[in-house]
Symmetry: C2
Subunit: 336 residues, 2 copies
DNA sequence: CTTTTTTGCTAAAACGTTTAATTAATTATT
DNA sequence: AATAATTAATTAAACGTTTTAGCAAAAAAG
């Protein structure tokens, strides 16, 4: 036997579709359905194992109660955690989440926005790719509720939930300077994304203020060549004449590879070299030297993104969405 | 301006809905639409930025081209990777994936199956919770295509993609015995799930065959108390009189906590104690002692699950689904 | 004992597709 | 020249909801 519909229930009870629908949506007051009939309908619905058809519902009311989430890489723990919290929170508002991946590919970003649009998601939460700006602009032009997370495009009118990357970086570098570092390297992705630029700027500003800025200590890594690029970068920074006494890793993937290389080279941490990483990692619990790291408030990021989005979705669809940019603070912590 | 529909395109061109639909679905041959008209329609559709409404489509054709994926914990890297590969593969068949979490809660499992059912997913890929069997049975009773992954319920007629947990365990234990271990402990979840039972059975059988089985060396951990339980279990195994010279960790989360504890206690690995873990971890690259681990073929698991499911979904909806149980082999590897 | 209000329900349209059944016009076949 | 076949489209119903407007009966008010 196929799926039970409202019509089926209506027939069995001998009442109209409308009455059943009203009751099952808790609008019995509004529809003035008698208490007895309402109870009878609810009982029968349960008995017949009725489950609403959200396709039909979505078609009719023009909403699908679904959020489209586009992340750069679900197998990266940072994004996996983010996805987890977004989902948990979305559920509280009655939304399901469709998670999709871009693998940092702009092409895939275009594809994923299209797939999700055609599934009538009510809104988007997006970790955009480097040149994904046009696709975000398209969403906004179409007046589809959209919230950027982790990364944003400052020059377009998009709501976003970010951490204060500049100050995170400043915090990290100040701490290194205070601990006596004078030749601090930085390993960062080569990217035009604003959050990377901010992290770099924080580094630059602190070091310049202390008169110890040296641009040749910034190593920019190609995402496509990450493993070998990091190895080379670390080795280059460790050249004797450079006298590097600190390295700041701008993302968790860079940290992992960097630390691996530092261990291979038997670098004396923290005595000869101090390191600060972006993001916490399980790995920190297993290495014999202390690591400082910038902790991002992942649960709050997810929570805020969902709330921003829900607010946007609530607004009457005609009006221009109000742009809200949320910036959360990070914490600088020590692994032990 | 709101979303462009087929009707809009039809009006602009001055033709019927049907013609536009036929063309946009590539059925122009079937519907005998002239080449010129077809081209005109396609061009106009592109120009007007038409995007199909999959809610309407799904409602009409009774399928949503969506797979519901239920995992135990998306923030666990094993499941995150699995989700990643399932998604990549599903996409090739034109399916989107809605990922949801249960956090090992049976209640949530029920909720998630309901949510996904009401979203008319065409099929389910499920990592079931310990007592989630009734919900899987319900899906099967309703003739909804379903594939279990990572865990299964042998007594119900459900298709599944598993690794050969018994032989994985046998492989691990044989290797430890061959390396001279005689008092081997095991740390495993207290669970009635078949894959856990199989892993335990592999342990038992190998050790019994060698006459070195000692049930008091099996430590069963409560999922809700995992951190302290593992600490206690490790300490208990390391009591002098036990003379334990090997520990087998039955899951990645147990491995992580166990290794942490072993490091805290400064155990001499691998000289005094050998360890084998289930699943690979990033952490292995960062610890100073070698670890053996069972590697599960995550990409193949995802691929097989999607293919099984797609096959089920292709079958005419009336017929009883053929049950296929796929068992993949694992590899025993060394971290270095 | 009218009139008004309230109560309890129904009819029917709409959302955007797909698709089977027709129709009408043109071309091919005898 | 009549008939058959092909081509190029159309019509209209259906999928399962939601929701507005309306109707009839009962209850309340005057």
């Amino acid at each position: 036997m196929s799926r039970v519909s409202i019509k089926n229930i209506a027939q069995v009870i001998g009442v109209s579709n409308a009455t059943v629908s009203l009751v099952l949506n808790g609008k019995e007051k509004d529809g003035r359905v008698s208490k007895e009939m309402a109870d009878r309908i609810r009982k029968m619905a349960k008995e017949m194992n009725y489950e609403p058809n959200n396709l039909a519902r979505g078609l009719r009311i023009g909403r699908s109660q679904t959020i489209g989430l586009i992340v750069a890489d679900i197998s990266n723990l940072f994004f996996a955690n983010l996805a987890f919290h977004i989902q948990e929170h979305a559920e509280k508002f009655g939304y399901s989440v469709i998670i999709t991946n871009t693998n940092e590919s702009d092409l895939k970003m275009e594809k994923m926005t299209n797939i999700l649009k055609s599934r009538s998601v009510d809104g988007f939460i997006v970790v955009p790719t480097e040149y994904g700006q046009p696709y975000v602009e398209d969403l906004i032009k179409r007046n589809i509720p959209t919230v950027l997370i982790d990364r944003n495009f400052p020059e377009i009118a998009a709501s976003s939930v970010m951490v204060d990357n500049y100050n995170a970086s400043v915090k990290a570098l100040k701490s290194m300077v205070n601990q006596g570092c004078r030749n601090i390297g930085m390993i960062i992705y080569k990217s035009e994304l604003q959050h990377m630029i901010d992290r770099k700027q924080g580094y630059t500003d602190v070091l310049e203020k202390h008169g110890i800025y040296n641009p040749s200590l910034i190593k920019e890594i190609n995402y496509s060549n990450i493993t070998s690029d990091v190895e080379i970068a670390v080795e280059s920074l460790l050249l004797k004449e450079r006298n590097v006494d600190g390295i700041f890793f701008a993302t968790n993937s860079l940290s992992m590879l960097g630390i691996k290389q530092l261990m291979k080279l038997n670098v004396d941490i923290p005595n000869k070299l101090k390191i600060v990483c972006f993001d916490k990692s399980d790995v920190f619990d297993f290495i014999q030297f202390p690591v400082s790291y910038i902790q991002q408030p992942i649960p709050e990021m997810g929570k805020n993104a969902v709330e921003l989005l829900v607010n946007q979705m609530k607004q009457t669809s005609g009006t221009q969405k109000k742009v809200q940019r949320i910036e959360l603070q990070t914490e600088l912590l020590d692994s032990f």
